[in-house]
């Protein structure tokens, strides 16, 4: 709030227009998914759930959804464990070398996925990890670490370092300090990071495009093929499901953050 200072008509129009541009095109998939037609269009005579039925009756879609879910879950565990330990240690040690390491941890956000994907394509060939569940989990887990590092570091910023000293001084060992003092305090940040790491893996396409082909066929990969081959309303139904999933996760994140702010 800027002391009752309000934007003028131009800024107001432009910002409303931009907000509409951001939100409305996404929302359009909802009516499209409910169409009674057999091609991508708005409903003509009435609403229909037949395209949702198609998705849920399709072993391919369900298989991909389940596969994506398990990959995202496993990758999230990897990101959260590695990212949280890293963020806590970097915060505690806080010196030039750890600051450089922390910057390094952000690389996956900066380097385009395509570069990493072609690198992995050849690298995983040697490790025999192409088209393997484990390969995708590792790739998604590693690229999910920065999200966890960032949210956990943010949670640690408001953590009083004397609490750690106090616990140490009273005789607590490092694992005890971690478990009883630090983790309970930064849990909201960890959960936030987990949510973002999960969304990251769940939506990730480019890496999968290169390192998976037949046995591992995630949801984004199936959507990608769908968009490129046959644009049918079942795609819209999947899109709506994905939007719903993201919204639920974001809502969860907001709840966690609110608890942290209390």
């Amino acid at each position: 709030m800027m002391g009752g200072y309000k934007p003028g008509w131009f800024a107001r129009t432009l910002s409303w227009g931009t907000a509409a541009y951001l939100v409305l095109p996404i929302l359009i998939v909802i009516p499209v998914s409910l169409t009674d037609q057999r091609f991508l269009s708005l409903p003509h005579h009435g609403l229909s759930l037949r395209h949702y039925a198609t998705v849920f009756a399709s072993p391919e879609w369900i298989g991909s959804i389940l596969q994506s879910f398990w990959i995202a879950l496993a990758a999230t565990v990897l990101s959260v464990v590695a990212g949280t330990l890293f963020a806590v240690a970097a915060w505690r040690l806080d010196r030039r070398s750890t600051q450089i390491l922390s910057a390094l941890m952000l690389l996956p956000l900066i380097v385009p996925s395509i570069v990493y994907a072609i690198g992995l394509y050849r690298y995983f060939g040697w490790w025999d990890l192409l088209d393997r569940f484990l390969g995708v989990v590792i790739a998604h887990g590693v690229t999910g670490i920065p999200y966890v590092v960032i949210t956990v570091s943010a949670a640690l910023a408001s953590f009083d370092p004397r609490l750690e000293q106090a616990a140490r001084g009273m005789g607590a060992s490092l694992p005890q300090v971690l478990r009883w003092v630090i983790l309970p305090r930064i849990m909201p940040g960890v959960v936030s990071g987990a949510i973002f790491a999960f969304i990251h893996s769940w939506d990730e396409l480019i890496i999968v495009l290169f390192i998976a082909s037949r046995d591992v066929f995630t949801l984004p990969r199936r959507i990608w093929d769908g968009i490129n081959e046959n644009l049918d309303p079942a795609m819209a139904a999947v899109a709506v499901l994905l939007i719903g999933m993201t919204l639920i996760l974001l809502l969860l994140d907001m709840l966690v953050r609110r608890r942290r702010d209390d």
């Binding site: 709030m1 800027m2 200072y5 934007p7 800024a11 432009l14 931009t18 907000a19 541009y21 951001l22 939100v23 095109p25 996404i26 359009i28 998939v29 499209v32 091609f39 991508l40 990897l78 590695a82 890293f86 806590v88 240690a89 970097a90 505690r92 040690l93 750890t98 952000l106 690389l107 996956p108 900066i110 380097v111 385009p112 996925s113 395509i114 994907a117 072609i118 690198g119 050849r122 690298y123 590693v142 999200y147 960032i150 943010a154 490092l174 939506d203 396409l205 480019i206 984004p220 959507i223 990608w224 968009i227 644009l231 795609m235 819209a236 994905l242 939007i243 993201t246 919204l247 974001l250």
Partner: protein
């Protein structure tokens, strides 16, 4: 040092994972660009000689600059409105930014396809209402790519600008008004200069994200307008020309890192993601 050994050990899992499964594959990409098909700078000479390479570089630069400019303009207006909004309204505005940010890029590209294609909702509506007789070519060209990319980038533009705008002391604006400055003067003389660091940070961020963008240009460009990322994928997957593909990938990474290094003072990735509330 010795007393902190336990803490150093906690850094290890992430460090090892990142080194072995991230840094090494990427360094390998850089290496291949100098090693295949034969050792030397042969792949890099193509930048000067190969028309296809030059075309994709030019297209990418053009699209990225246009995208960045539009995203900054729209994002600035949005960030401005959010900054000046009341506590309650701000929450809804932020939702309009954060929800699209986290919704799958595929879903968004798909939504744009349903809207923009020849039989898409926009062309249909315009034809049914008689505004146009022939469908407009809204997608599978540069226009479609830019519409989709700007849509993707606006949230990334808003967040850093919002962070810097929220640091502006609201009393300054009131004080300037009290000293007789008009609304426009308050904006141009006070608000805009104070928000400039955020604008630069947002510009850098959007630009580097645009450079390596794959999904949206590939879907909305329909294979006719190639940007760097899709071109690389084409070299590797379809033409099996590793040397050229990795050369372009190296060029991409170097450009991004150099841009970031130049602007390292104003861009704070950590704050962007950590402070996105």
């Amino acid at each position: 040092m010795r007393r902190d050994a336990g803490w150093w050990a906690l850094l290890l899992p992430a460090f090892l994972l990142l080194s072995v499964f991230y840094i090494v594959p990427i360094v390998q990409v850089l290496a291949i660009s100098f090693m295949e098909p034969e050792p030397g700078f042969g792949n890099y000479e193509r930048i000067a000689t190969n028309l296809s390479v030059q075309r994709v570089l030019l297209t990418t630069a053009r699209i990225c600059i246009i995208t960045t400019a539009i995203a900054l303009f729209l994002g600035y207006a949005l960030a401005y409105a959010i900054t000046l909004a009341s506590e309650n309204a701000r929450r809804w505005w932020l939702l309009c930014v954060l929800v699209p940010l986290w919704i799958s890029v595929l879903v968004r590209a798909f939504a744009w396809v349903t809207l923009l294609r020849r039989q898409g909702l926009i062309n249909q509506t315009l034809m049914e209402t008689g505004v146009i007789a022939e469908p407009l070519a809204l997608v599978w060209n540069e226009f479609g790519i830019i519409v989709g990319m700007v849509h993707y980038m606006v949230p990334y533009a808003v967040l850093p600008m919002l962070a810097s705008m929220r640091e502006i002391d609201p009393r300054l604006l009131a004080a300037a008004r009290g000293m007789g400055a008009s609304r426009i003067q308050v904006f141009t003389r006070i608000f805009f200069p104070l928000s400039a660091p955020g604008l630069v940070a947002a510009g850098v961020l959007v630009f580097i994200f645009s450079l390596g963008f794959y999904v949206t240009p590939a879907i909305l460009g329909g294979g006719r307008t190639l940007m760097v990322a899709e071109w690389i994928s084409l070299q590797i997957l379809d033409l099996i020309r590793w040397g050229l593909g990795t050369m372009m990938a190296t060029l991409l990474v170097v450009t991004i890192l150099v841009t970031l290094a130049v602007f390292s003072r104003v861009v704070n990735l950590r704050r962007l993601f950590g402070g996105a509330r």
